[in-house]
């Protein structure tokens, strides 16, 4: 037990160490880049943090002493009505460059969005191209899918080979988690008779969120550290899945409860039906906001603690900030599991409300 704990602590220490190195270098870059050589221009932590949690077309690694950026440039895929489909490397758009009439906005409401540039050199706001680019988050997403497939395909292979009697290796780690999702989330909420149909979804969503949360905590090297579950588009799609599954598994009682709530006098129904409909929408909406805000808030806290070093411009602050970052990373590990659990649990709860029999 003690060795296990110390190994865990070492891993966490290692991860936080990388956090500081990689973010610290980028922090230096931001401080000098915004300062334009003048050291007394104030460091803007808010922009620094937002740039790090936002999605981006390039994967910035570090800046060399001479000011060159080392980054992985990701492909940009654009579709606009006039020019059709366009595929090129984001290197051509780096540092505010214009390529083929496109530019990444660096200021204002459209910050970080690729816009088409008109003759005067301004962004054409009425004609923003559709952006299908492989961004940081998309790379993270694809990589987490590969990890998930690798984990579970090797798991199923080893079950085929050895049967269920002797769990070995990765089996003995994943089996308790899968059983936990089945027994404590699916069966205890949906019930023993109907849970099986929903197990694939619940397990998928649980491990998808878990893997992405954990990958978001590892800041380096590139496939890790993309803020996937802290991206509202991703959590929106996950919440949509829960919404659609809940509505399509809704039985007679569920719809009767929505449109003709038993025990409610008929003159109250014009009030009750909108309330019930808002309830149907707001449940997945809360799921979306909860996951997004929890993960984003965690990243913001870790980054602000690192920003302290650059705000005070002193090495003496570094040990304090490092200790706090290690503490926060431990907390984030807990949150990574907890949010995966809560999302799955609430999905199961909403499904159970839709499928439960009248009693």
């Amino acid at each position: 037990m003690k060795t296990k704990l110390s190994i865990l602590f070492l891993i966490v220490f290692f991860i936080s160490g990388i956090t500081i190195i990689s973010f610290g270098q980028e922090g230096h870059e931001t401080a000098t880049a915004t300062g334009h050589g003048e050291a007394d221009e104030p460091f803007d932590p808010s922009t620094f943090i937002m740039d790090h949690i936002a999605d981006s077309h390039e994967w910035h690694l570090w800046t060399k002493k001479n000011g060159d950026h080392v980054a992985v440039y990701l492909p940009v895929i654009l579709y606009s009505r006039e020019k059709g489909l366009d595929v090129f490397s984001s290197r051509k758009l780096a540092h505010g460059d214009t390529y083929d009439g496109y530019r990444i906005e660096e200021e204002g409401d459209l910050k970080g969005i690729i816009v088409s540039v008109n003759e005067e050199g301004h962004a054409d706001e009425a004609n923003i191209p559709l952006d299908f680019s492989i961004t940081k988050a998309v790379i993270g997403l694809l990589f987490s899918c590969i990890i998930g497939l690798w984990l579970f395909l090797s798991l199923s292979r080893s079950y085929k080979k050895t049967g269920i009697s002797h769990p070995r290796g990765i089996q003995s780690f994943l089996e308790p988690i899968i059983l936990f999702v089945r027994d404590d989330i699916a069966i205890s909420n949906i019930g023993i008779h109907k849970y099986e149909k929903y197990m694939p979804y619940l397990l998928t969503v649980f491990f998808f969120i878990l893997i992405n949360n954990l990958m978001g905590l590892i800041p380096f090297p590139p496939p890790f550290g993309a803020n996937v579950t802290g991206n509202i588009a991703v959590t929106f799609v996950l919440a949509c899945f829960t919404f659609v599954i809940t509505q399509f598994s809704g039985n007679k009682n569920y719809w009767r409860h929505t449109f003709a709530t038993p025990g409610v006098p008929f003159w109250l129904l014009p009030v009750m039906i909108p309330v019930e409909l808002i309830g149907i929408i707001s449940k997945p909406f809360a799921l979306m906001i909860r996951l997004f805000a929890n993960i984003t808030a965690g990243h913001i806290i870790v980054l602000s603690l690192i920003c302290l070093i650059f705000i005070f411009k002193s090495v003496a602050v570094a040990p304090v900030s490092i200790l706090f970052v290690i503490f926060m990373d431990c907390l984030e590990l807990l949150v990574a599991f907890l949010q995966a659990y809560v999302f799955t649990l609430l999905s199961a709860l909403f499904i159970s409300l839709a499928v439960q029999e009248h009693h």
Binding site: I289, A293, A297, L338, V342, L345
Partner: protein, 68 residues
């Protein structure tokens, strides 16, 4: 100016959520102390309730983030 007001709003929301989740945690502790055999059920119910309160607080925080 709006930024300051938004920050105060976020702080107020967190106070509310803190009181709420603190009460849930305290009551769950008491309940577990009285009935240790029901720990699992109490924990699940506790996490559901805490998650719902947290959701309300996070709405407020997201609104104050946007208001900036």
């Amino acid at each position: 100016m709006t930024g300051t007001v938004a920050a105060i709003g976020a702080g107020l929301a967190v106070i509310g959520a803190g009181i709420g989740i603190g009460r849930i945690g305290g009551s769950a502790m008491e309940a577990i102390a009285r009935q240790p055999e029901a720990t699992n059920k109490i924990q699940t119910a506790m996490i559901i309730a805490a998650a719902l309160i947290e959701g309300a607080a996070l709405f407020a925080i997201v609104v104050s983030l946007i208001a900036k």
